[in-house]
Each structure stands twice: as C-alpha cells, then as structure tokens.
Amino acid sequence: MTKLADNVNPNVYDKGSEREKTSEDYNEDIEDLFDEREIFDLIRNINDPEHPLTLEELRVVEESNIKVDNKDNTVVVSFTPTIPHCSMATLIGLSIRVRLLRALPSRFKVTVEVSEGSHVSEHAVNKQLADKERIAAALENKNLVQIINQCIATV
C-alpha cells in the first residue's frame, strides 16, 4: 500500500550556494568558531521523509532560524513544517536532532523545536523533542532508526 504524502505538491525553493572557502579557512593558525552557517550546512541536506527533496529546498530549515553560542555551548534550531498539520513534524525534528547529536561535539546543548505558530500541535511536538528519554526510546525502535538513517544518510 502506498500512503499519499500529507503535502503532495509542496513549494520548492532554490538551493543556496555552498559556503565559500576563504583564505582564513586554510590558515592553520586561525581558529574557526562554530557559526549559524556551519550548523545550517549540517542539516540543510537532510532528506524530507516524504519527498526526494532536502529540508533546505522545502525551507523547513533556514539559516536565520538557528542560534549558536560558543561561550555557553548552546545550539538552538527551529524548523518550520511545510503545512501546519504535517504529521511528519516529529520525525523531521528527530532527524535533525540525531544528525546534530552525531555531528556536533558533546560540549553543545542542542535544542530542536518547531518555529512558533507553524504547527497545530506545536507544544506536543516540542515536548517530545525535548524529552531525552523519549528520544532514547525512539532510537531503540529499529524501524524508526532505519527511516532516520535514510533521511540523513546522504548528508
């Protein structure tokens, strides 16, 4: 049985350019701090669970919705589901979380939440995503891990 996607024909946006490499990037002596763009680059290419499109192309994640604080070691990512009743919101949030869990140094405290007012059950989703135990439990579920791995495999 093939389930039809929630949002069959989403708007597709242009992909941004790759981060330009500056001479500072090649200078061994300069320390590059984590910035919003770097976090964005980590998650922009995550695949949407429903479409063969990336979160960037669907504008689920945007650079302006990411906050990084190197001093306090915090990263806050808010994402915007394509439609307010998207049933995949939790899954997308979970994918972003797992991706950052694997790709960021452990010193950072990562918060992933739905942008304010973009989803009907915003609070429920945010609560789920903030609950460490529920995340850990979700990652015990083989089927779920498989879907998440497929979403983030190509990054």
């Binding site: 140094p105 010193r107 498989q146 879907i147 791995n149």
Partner: protein, 973 residues
C-alpha cells in the same frame, strides 16, 4: 557390413538402446561415403517411425532429426529434400509428443541448399492448423519462430504471395508469448516483418498483439544465465509499434494513454516510443493529438526531481517539433502547435520567481528552437524582443542574468542554423542590453553582459563600440577580480577583430597608449597586458611591437614591465600561434633588443627580476624553425661564452639560448657548452645558476640525436664527472642534484643508460650523510616542471616514463631494503612517496601487495609530504583495490585516527579523515563492525577541531561510521 543401421534391427535399437544416438556420426560417414543410401536408412527405421506407441515414434523422429542435423547441408538432392519435407509435414499431424522433433528437424531441412521454397506452403498450412504454438515448450516455440524467420530470409517474395493467411498464421502463433527471450527475438524479427509484408485488414490485429506488451513491465531474476533486461525488451518493442504509418492512430492513442499513467517507466517508454515513431509516421497523423501530446510533454518537462524523465521529454519534444516542421508551409497545425508551446513557456517565464523556474521555461523553448529551422526562426522572433523587455522590467538580478544567457543561447542556435539574416530585426537590440548589463557595478552583471556580447559579437554595431570600450578599459585598469579581468581582455580582443580601426584609435593610440605613463604602475602593467594581447591580431602587431621595442631599446625604467607583459602573452599558445611569433621575430626582430637589454641589466638587477626576459627569449626561439635558431646561435654564442668566463651569471643567457632548440639543431659549440655547463653546475656559488646549468645539461642530453652525437656528449659527461672529487663535502650535494637531472633527462628520452645513474642515487639513499639529498633527487625526477623538459621546448618525452621509473625503482630498492638504518629509512620511504605520488594509479593497483606495506609504514613518520602522499595512495587503494589493505585494518585504523589529530597540518588531518570515510564506505560490514565503537569514540574529538574544513570531513566520516551495520544503511553486502 555388420553395423546395425544396415539392417531393419535399427528400429529396435532406437527404441530400446539410447546408445545408438551417440553413433550417428558413423552413420553419416557411411551415408556420405556412399555405402548407405538415406532411403534405405529410413526403411530400416520403419519399425520405429510407424510404431504404435507415440513415445517410440518420438524417439524415431528424434533420431531422424539428429541424422538430418549432422548431414552436410549440400548432400541431399532436390527430390530427397522434397520427399523428406513431405514426410515431416505429414508427421506434424501426429501425436503432440512427436511434434517437437519434427519442428526441429524441419528447421534443419530449410537450411539444406536444395530446399525448394514451394515445399513450405503445405508445411505452413499444416503447422498453423495442427500445432498450437503457445501450448508448446519455450524452446519449441522458439524453433517455430526461427523457421518463419528462415523462410522469410530464403524467399520473401514467395512468402508474400501466400497472402494474408500466412500473416494471420504468424500473428496467431505469437499471440500470447510470455517468455522474454522469445519476445526479444520476435520483436527484432517483427520490426522488419511488419514493414515488408502488406498487413491489409490484419494491421489492427497485429498491433493489438504487440501493443499488449507496452509498456514492458519485467523484472529479471538475478541468477538468470542468459539475462534479458527490461531495456532490451523495451528497445526492441518500440520500433515494432511504429513500424508502419498504418499503426499511427492506435500507436499515438496508446502512448498518450500511457503518458498519463502513474508509472515512471510507462512514461519514459512512451516518450521513447514517441521519439521513435517520428521516424515513420507522417506529420498529419499527429495533428489531431498535438494538444494532448503537448500537455503531457509539458507536464513531464516540468518535473522537479526526475532528470531522466525530463531529458527524455525534451528529446521527445525536439523530435515532434522537427517532424511537424516538415509541414510548416502547407499546414496551420505546426504553427498553432508552436504558438501553444511559446505561450505556455512564456507564461512559465513570466511567473518565474527562481532561476530554476525561469530555466525550465527557456529550456523548453531552446529544445523546440533546436529542432528545426522554422521553429528556430519563429521562437527567436518572438522571444528575443520579449526577453529584452523582460530584462528591462528589472525583476531580480539573478533572473536578469539568466535572461541574458537565454538570449545568448537562442542567438547561438540561430547562428548555427544560418538564420541570422531572417531574424536580423529582432537581434539588433541585443548588444544594447549587454551594454546596460556591463554598465552595472556588480560583477555578476558585467560577466554575464560580456559573455553574451562575445556570443553575439556578429551583430555589434559600430556606434556601441565606444561605450563598451570605456567600460572595458576601466575594468582592465582597475578590476581586482581575475575572472572579470580575463573576460574584459577577451572582449576587447573580440571587438578588435571586428573593428580594428576603431580599437586602434580608441585603445592603442588612445586610452592605453604606452606614452601615457603618468598613472600608477599597476594600471600601467595591466594596460600593457591588454596591448600585448592585442598585438597578436595582425592589424595591431606592427604598431604595438614597435612601440614596445622602442622602450626596451631605450632602456627606460618601464622596460622591465614591457618585457614582463610580452613574455606573459607570448607564452599563451592560444593567443600567439607559433607562426605569429615567427612572423614577429622576422619582421621586427624581438630577440636582439631584448638580449641587449639583458646584457645591460644583468649585472645590476637580481636574476629573479630578469626571469621574464629569459623566458621571453626562450619562448621566442622555441617558436622559430631550426634554421633560424641556428642563425641566432651563431650570432650570439661567442659573446655569451666570452662573458660567461668572467662571471658565471652570464650563463643564464647561454641557458635561454640553448634550452628551446629543435632536436636537429647542432653546432660545433655544443661540446664547449656542455663543458661550461658542467663546470657551472658544480662550482657556481649561485643556486639559480647551478640549477639552470643542470637544466641545460638535461636538455642537451635529452635532445641530442641518437648515435654519434649523443654518444659524444654522454661520454664527455661521464669522463668529466668521473674526475670529480667525491670526498668534497660541498660538492657531493651538487653532484647528487646533477645526477637527478641526468637521470630525468635520460629517462624521458627513453634511453636505457638512465639505470646507471638511478643506481647511484638509490645507493646514496642508503648512506646516512646524504640520504636526504638522494630523496630530493628522486623528487626532482618524478616532478613535472612546466618550465623545463616539455614539448614546447622540443624535448623527447617517452610514453609511460613514470611507470618505467616506478618499476625500475622498485627493483633497485629491493637491494638496499635490508640494510636501512633508522635515519635512512625515512629518506627511503620519502623517496618511495615521491615515486608513488606521480606513478600512474593503474600501475599501483597491479603492484598493490608490494606498495601497500610501504604506504602503511609511511603513516608512522612525522613528515608532512610523506604523510600526504601515503594517505593519497591509501585512499586510492581503499577505493579501487580494498583487498590489498583489508588484512591490515587493525594497523591502519589506529594510525589514521592518530593522524586525524596531527597538529602540524590540517591537510593531513583532512586526508586521514577522508580515508576513514572511504574505509567505512567500501569494506564489508562484517570486517568493520569490530572497530565501529572504537572509531566512533576516537573520532569525537575531531568534531571539535579548530579548523572548520577538518570538522566538515570529520562529520562526514563519523556519520558514515554510525551507519555501519545500522538499519537503513545502503550497502550491497
């Protein structure tokens, strides 16, 4: 005469003893030699052929068929064939068990040279009446098809005379065929069959039978030995469906229906069928369906993610437009269709908010324009003014730039089709748009404007030259960006070819005039670059070169810049051809003034500052024919040698005179030059001069003619080097460097004597005192230097010399491998690294077992170059030949992880992380799993590396390792 086949007992034998089947060759021998008549043989078989049991009759027929198969094809005469044919036809009516050998046997019979085509009438009638093809086994069905094909090949006209009964028989026989192999055969056969046989009222029937396979839905099993792929089937089916114009209606309806299906493959197959059908169907047959076809095509072309579908849809549109265009003058349909395409594309373009959407619309138009002259003219006429207007609407910058590109593309297609005259009125405005684009300050606009202008150069009007030149000259003097500078110079060049007089006045004698020095030096240098570039155009050569030579002769302070600009331009082969340089030298004499200038400056300036002068002379001499080169040598050698005796800095002049010579140039001075070079190479205090001397020696050795001349030089070299004092500590490093150059030169020449010198160098690798110099020499041999020993300087470069070096080196090092100390080991491995770095990767792959341990050894040393090369090679092995390193994973992984924290070089960190990624990507999950947890833990610190580039690779590697053996990993094992 005791053999069984001479007696009636043969029948008994066939029934009860299978062994007789193995003796048919003896029977054939008897028949051919005339001992046995085939009629007698059949008589002897009577018992089995007319046996009551069908099982036995089958055996009998099988035996008979086997005999027929093994008989020479020309043995049977007309009567015999006729007789046997009758017999076989009769047998078709027999029990179903008997039929397979009968069919097989008849197939053989057709091959007999005396087979008369008239025999087949009865056969076919009985076959179609008595045998239900589709209830036979796969092989028997195949045999029936083969028989039909063979008969067609034998006498097509006779079969045609059989009329529609035959065609009907064929259709019935294949109706319902399911086996893919048979289908491929049938489709191939039918492509011609349908074209040749008049189908008459059976056309519809035929189409129904084959169209039920469309679109092919077939999934071959993986272990099929004679695999038929879906593509094979689809590719052979399509030509059948559109083999004759009579199929047109049904075929087009079918493909439109399938285009609307949800299956991706159905769409792709339908599009391919549409493309194929354009070869046979008439334009009129498409007319009623154009609207439906266009709406489907348009939908597929606007697909967002499926590129294959999109490309195929474009191809289909192209084919359709080309087809319809053939009726352009007689029918309204084409025009209406094209109008529809243009309007729909225009609305896509007008609605576009992103470049992707814009390009979607333009791409459709370009495809349609590319398909035929008529469509190209209509689209250019409609779209160029529309796009110009669109540009002026000032939507988004990105879209404006895209619209410029689109105009350029359209123009190019029109130009290619020779339609420029027809659309002249529309395209005259284009340069104006380019001008408004280049007048913007943003780099993107300027680049796009110049690019388009270069494409539409033909229609640039005289009145626009001045404003363009204003912008260009400003760019040339002030642009910081290399891309922009490059394209500006190119644009001036293009305009100059079209309007030489204007550019002469405006640029050469106007804004860029050499006399106009007052401004800052950098702008002056850039103007000189433009001028030297323009000098390659015939109209400008004289004026510019003479001006410049004047400056050089007068020894102005600017001479240095002029020489630099000249040298830069002349070395670009794309701008200055060899003929052009030769012409400049013979018309204006470039070498003499530059040499004079060098003589004056040499004592006061540093060698680096004059390097451009030497390069200019070398490049110019290199472009001249051999006789001219000889003249120059005769003229200048004596003075240069004279001066060189006083101060070896003058050797640089000798070097630039003698390195670029042709191979056949040789004069009496060569020996003296060789002696001087050797002295300088070993004794001079200046590094540059010593290196140049080595280069010259290498060039002389490389280019000397085979035989006497080479022997003479080589012996001289050997005796003079033999007399050197090996104890001199200062001399030894210089000698080793010279050995390197000699080896390189001989190796590239393809001469075997290089071995002698390479042995010396390898020997040095084992000595603690000089081993580092030895590895430097190896580096020199392997490195490609663009300035020396290249084709432009007429050197011999033998094929695969690097491979030869690799092989020889690995043999030679076998000897010293055992007695290496800790000190020499590093140089030894470093030399290996240099060799591996440049050796062709395919060679390494063959020698993996030998190379892999060396590479793994290298990973332990703290030497940046060596680590980079060995990581490179290791990555290569992991990707292309994983078995070579799979046993050493236990050693490799910890070393790579240690290197991922190598503080001295981020390149090493990046490389080692990439290698870890490749390992996770290529090796079997079972091999990797034991290391997974350790690697994941050890990679965590790299995520916090201070360099972002390293972090990116670390993330990639670690994420990949997370997937090892995890659900959702896409890996075949």
């Amino acid at each position: 005469m005791t053999s069984a086949w001479f007696k009636p007992e043969l029948a008994e034998l066939i029934i009860n003893h299978g062994d007789i089947f193995n003796e048919t060759h003896s029977i054939i021998a008897d028949i051919v030699s005339g001992h046995l008549d085939i009629a007698d043989l059949v008589e002897n078989m009577a018992g089995v052929l007319t046996n009551k049991e069908p099982e036995n009759r089958e055996k009998g027929m099988r035996f008979y068929t086997k005999i027929l198969k093994e008989l020479p094809r020309d043995y049977l005469n007309d009567m015999q064939v006729k007789f046997i044919s009758k017999f076989y036809i009769d047998r078709l009516k027999d029990n179903h068990r008997v039929v397979p050998p009968v069919i097989e046997g008849y197939s053989v019979l057709i091959d007999m040279s005396e087979y008369n085509i008239q025999n087949c009438t009865d056969f076919l009638t009985i076959l179609f009446r008595e045998v239900t093809c589709q209830s036979q086994t796969r092989q028997d069905r195949y045999n029936i098809y083969v028989i039909i094909q063979k008969l067609c090949n034998k006498d097509i006209e006779y079969l045609k005379s059989l009329g529609s009964d035959f065609v009907y028989g064929v259709i019935t026989a294949m109706d319902g065929e399911r086996d893919p192999r048979n289908l491929v055969f049938l489709f191939e056969f039918l492509q011609n069959f349908i074209k040749i046989f008049p189908l008459g009222h059976l056309a519809e029937e035929m189409f129904d039978v084959i169209s039920c396979y469309f679109p092919i839905d077939f999934h071959p099993s993986n272990d099929d030995p004679a695999a038929v792929t879906r593509e094979d089937l689809a590719n052979s089916l399509a030509p059948c469906l559109c083999a004759i114009p009579e199929f047109a209606d049904s075929c087009i309806i079918l493909l439109i229906e399938k285009l609307d299906s949800n299956l991706r493959l159905a769409k792709i197959d339908s599009l391919k069928l549409l493309i194929e059908s354009c070869k046979t169907f008439t334009p009129q047959s498409y007319s009623p369906f154009l609207r439906a076809l266009w709406s489907s095509l348009n939908r597929e072309m606007s697909h967002k993610t499926d590129d294959e579908l999109k490309t195929t849809a474009h191809e289909a549109l192209g084919a359709l437009v080309a087809k319809m265009a053939s009726t352009a003058n007689t029918d309204q349909d084409f025009e209406n269709f094209l109008k529809g395409v243009i309007i729909s594309a225009q609305s896509t373009i007008a609605d576009a908010t992103t470049v992707a959407q814009f390009v979607k619309g333009t791409k459709i138009l370009l495809t349609a324009a590319n398909a035929s002259n008529q469509s190209c003219a209509s689209i250019t006429r409609a779209m160029v003014p529309a796009t110009v207007a669109y540009y002026e609407l000032k939507t988004a910058p990105k879209l404006q730039i895209a619209s410029l590109d689109f105009i350029g593309d359209l123009y190019e297609i029109a130009n290619k089709k020779g339609l420029l005259d027809e659309v002249k009125a529309q395209i005259t405005n284009v340069p104006q748009i380019c001008l408004s684009a280049v007048s913007q300050t943003s780099k993107e606009f300027q680049m796009a404007g110049f690019k388009t202008l270069i494409r539409v150069q033909e229609c640039l009007g005289e009145d626009l030259v001045l404003p363009f030149v204003e912008v260009l000259i400003y760019n040339v003097q002030h642009a910081q960006d290399n891309d922009l500078l490059g394209i500006s110079v190119e644009t001036i060049h293009v305009i100059a070819r079209k309007y030489p007089e204007l550019i002469m006045d405006l640029v050469v004698k106007g804004k860029c005039s050499i006399d106009n020095i007052s401004q800052d030096k950098i702008a002056f240098q850039k103007r000189l670059n433009v001028l030297t570039n323009l000098a390659s155009i015939d109209d400008f050569t004289k004026v510019i070169i003479e001006e410049m030579l004047k400056i050089i002769t007068a020894n102005d302070p600017e001479a240095l810049h002029v020489v630099e600009a000249l040298s830069g331009s002349i070395s670009m082969a794309s701008v200055f051809t060899i003929e052009k340089v030769t012409q400049i030298e013979s018309d204006h004499g470039l070498i003499d003034p530059v040499l004079d200038w060098l003589y004056k400056e040499i004592s006061s300036s540093s060698p680096d500052a004059l390097a451009h002068g030497y390069t200019l002379i070398a490049n110019t001499i290199g472009s001249l024919p051999p006789e001219k080169q000889e003249n120059i040598l005769i003229k200048h050698t004596p003075l240069a040698l004279e001066r060189c005796k006083q101060d070896d800095i003058y050797f640089l002049i000798i070097e630039c005179l003698y390195t670029p010579l042709h191979q056949i140039v040789y004069n009496s001075k060569f020996e003296e030059i060789m002696t001087v070079s050797l002295q300088v190479a070993l004794k001079s205090d200046k590094d540059v001069v010593r290196t140049k001397a080595c280069v010259l020696i290498a060039h002389l050795l490389n280019k000397a003619e085979h035989g006497q001349k080479f022997e003479l030089l080589y012996e001289m070299l050997k005796t003079q080097l033999a007399s050197c004092n090996r104890g001199d500590e200062k001399l030894c490093p210089r000698l080793i460097q010279l050995y390197g150059w000699i080896t390189k030169s001989l190796l590239m020449r393809g001469s075997d004597v290089f071995l002698f010198w390479l042995q010396k160098i390898v020997g040095i690798l084992a000595t603690p005192q000089y081993c580092t110099h030895g590895s430097e020499a190896i580096k020199l041999i392997m490195n490609e230097n663009t300035d020396y020993l290249n084709r432009k300087q007429h050197c011999r470069i033998s094929l695969l010399y690097k491979q030869r070096m690799f092989e020889t080196f690995s043999v030679l090092t076998e000897k010293i491998k055992s007695n290496l100390s800790a000190e020499t080991k590093e140089s030894y491995l470093l030399s290996w690294a240099y060799v591996l770095d440049k050796a062709p990767k395919t060679v390494l792959k063959n020698e993996a077992n030998k190379v892999a341990p060396i590479v793994i050894d290298c990973l332990e040393y703290d030497n940046k170059d060596m680590l980079q090369v060995s990581l490179d090679v290791l990555c290569h092995f992991v990707q292309s030949n994983p078995t070579a390193v799979s046993d050493s994973l236990q050693t490799i992984l910890p070393r790579l992880i240690a290197l991922s924290k190598y503080m001295k070089s981020m390149d090493v960190r990046i490389k080692s992380l990439e290698c870890l990624y490749d390992i996770a990507n290529t090796f079997r999950t079972s091999t990797l799993l034991p290391y997974k947890q350790d690697v994941l833990l050890d990679l965590a610190p790299s995520l916090d590396d201070k360099k972002r580039l390293v972090r990116n690779v670390a993330v990639r590697a670690r994420s990949r390792w997370f997937l090892v053996g995890a659900p959702g990993e896409e890996k075949p094992n």
